[in-house]
């Protein structure tokens, strides 16, 4: 393997990791705060993608510039967070925080199944493709290989911004500190007057919006079709579990690890590309069952 190939694999890995991270980070945030593994995250991702494609399609049909696709991505993410995420927390999850984990998992899985069918009802089964945003940014040529600016530069930058922004939000804003406090000890937080219900609702909306944003960012690069959510939730879960549930920086590191592992596999031994993310997860969890960055939890009783 020469240096060129090495660098190419590196670029591909980073671009892929950026996308995976933007989805996984919402999943791990929700788990970190609410201790709920939200399987419906995959659907929120898909809805975000569908919504972006549809809105961009409308905007283009009305004659707006392709660059409008970027604000529409944010808009779709917010819509997913507020209109889909909000009701899920408020109507369903709120009732099951004290129930066994299996039940929580089943409920979010049920939501996932329902949303999968909702997508079919609304958008049908034919694949959508809406690449205006990606085309608007053009390409760069590196070592004789064309990359899209969108995937090679914008996505990694956005992922980095997301990571830094989320860190800042949690450590340096009031709301972020409230979230952290509630995460640490919900009862203690409530006893000093923090409205834990509200914190949970906000967290879930933010987490859901991040899933929607992941879908929105992915939408110009891929066909949007039924089943895309299922694939993403499995991969994000691999990332989140390898990092340690609830670890945001860890998710970034693991997404990079898995992204690079996958892209080097395609260059060196393509047959194993599918296997690599899960192989990494398996090895990490065998050595550190709590994940790379997770700490063993002390049982309260």
């Amino acid at each position: 393997m020469n240096l060129t190939i090495f660098l190419l694999a590196l670029f591909d890995g980073i671009a892929y990791a950026a996308l995976v991270f933007s989805v996984a980070v919402g999943l791990t945030l929700i788990f970190g705060v609410m201790r709920i593994l939200n399987v419906a995250h995959g659907s929120l991702y898909a809805v975000g993608a569908y919504l972006t494609a549809t809105l961009t399609g409308y905007a283009l049909a009305l004659g707006f510039a392709p660059l409008l696709a970027f604000p529409l991505m944010i808009a779709s993410a917010v819509l997913v967070g507020v209109l889909v995420g909000g009701p899920i927390e408020w109507l369903l999850l709120r009732r099951i925080y004290n129930k066994p984990e299996v039940l929580q998992l089943l409920v979010t899985f049920a939501v996932f199944m329902i949303l999968e069918d909702v997508q079919r009802l609304v958008w049908g089964t034919q694949p959508y493709f809406q690449a205006a945003a990606l085309q608007a940014l053009g390409m760069v040529r590196v070592f004789g290989v064309n990359y899209t600016v969108y995937q090679l530069i914008l996505l990694p930058l956005l992922a980095l911004t997301l990571l830094v922004g989320l860190r800042f939000f949690l450590r340096h804003t009031i709301l972020g500190k409230l979230i952290l406090a509630t995460t640490e000890d919900r009862e203690a937080a409530q006893s000093i007057g923090i409205n834990a219900d509200k914190v949970f609702l906000v967290t879930f909306i933010v987490g859901a919006a991040l899933a929607g944003l992941g879908g929105a960012l992915a939408s110009p690069t891929t066909s949007i079709l039924p089943g895309m959510g299922a694939d993403m939730i499995v991969l994000s879960f691999a990332v989140v579990a390898t990092a340690g549930l609830g670890q945001i920086e860890g998710a970034a590191f693991t997404a990079l690890l898995i992204g690079l592992g996958r892209s080097f596999a395609v260059y060196v031994w393509p047959e194993t590309a599918v296997l690599v993310p899960y192989l990494i997860m398996l090895i990490v969890l065998l050595v550190r069952p709590e994940g790379l960055f997770g700490s063993p939890t002390a049982r309260k009783i």
């Binding site: 591909d12 493709f129 390409m139 066909s223 694939d231 393509p270």
Partner: protein, 428 residues
Amino acid sequence: MRKFLLTTAAILAAPFAALAAEKPAELRVGITTFLTGPASVFGVPARDAAEIIVEKLNAEGGIGGVPVRLSFIDEGAGAEALTTEFRRQVEAGAHAMMGAISSGNCQTLAPLAEDLKVLNLMWDCGTQQIFEQNDYKYVFRTQANATPEMLATVLYLLKVKPDFKTIAVVNQDYAWGRDSWQIFSAALKALKPDVQVVGEFFPKFGAADFSTEISRLQAMQPDVILSTSWGGDLDTFIQQAAQRGLMNSSTFVIPLAESSLERLGSTLPAGHIIGARGDHYFLHPERRDDADFQAFMTAFREKTGAHAIYPVFHMSQALAALKAAYDKAIAAKGGEWPEKDDVVAAFEGLTFQGLGREVTIREDNQGIEAQLLGMSVQTGDYPFATLENIMIFDGAALTTPVGQESVAWVSQLTPEYVESVKIDAYEK
């Protein structure tokens, strides 16, 4: 002994055979198709086509005066639900079944249909193995299989781009992706031994991202890139490859892309080799001026808002075969309604025509179907790529001879074979 038993059975059955079966109030046909899942890109248009065709057929008096009633089974529900529903419909008195799209489902349903002694037309599945590994009495295939499809693709490639040196493949990682590459590469090796395979990629079925494969392919710069992928996978791969300029440096050979043309719109550049799993194209050069063809295409567009793709043609062939077999059996009985076995017998050597050229059923129950390939071109007549430099290959020379195994047969072909296949060429 076997012959003795058969003869005895025949003698015992003789008095009954002369009696006509009672004419049913309706001819019930069960069709398995994908209504959910990724393959619904094929299954849903095929169902719509079946409904259009049967509506017209019934308006014209049905089959032998009996109206046809269709019921659909979703292949997307899984093999178990599929076999249960298939069995249920047969036991409830379905006169004929049509299954399936998925090769795996065909492998499951063919022996089941044989057990249930019900006529089953494999109307879309591609696996060449079914009749090469087993003999069936009740199961027929009303179209070609993977072997002629891949062989025609190799021939077209050799005709239009005889000097290429290197090829890479990007197929879906499941039975079709692997099997089609096995046949294609065996044929290529036999017909053009100096070609070098520089890369083999089998991304997972339903993969959403081919960026890494595309980077690697750009670094390799193969002359030709083959992909037998379909549906969302193919759309994604073509979109990503086109975005990154890979389609300017390599010629793509995409044997199932006819079914993606309309969805890909202006993305698919000119100069890539497009196949259609048979002579299936909504602008079929030999059929597009025919009134029945035009009437169907108009009706299909009105109903679905889209142009017809190959599963629609496959569906038309299976329904045409059913009608032709019944008509033939009725004629053989002097106008009386035929028994089940009379209809099955009528399939021997049966010739019928759907929306493409005529198809003939061979003695091993395999259909002989022509293959159409062309080169993509953006003319501006449609908001998507159409075909030019079309070649229609005669099916008989492409189909593995009865009793032989496809990969072995394809492997022993010689470069002279290329010139021996009958081809009709059309500019567009």
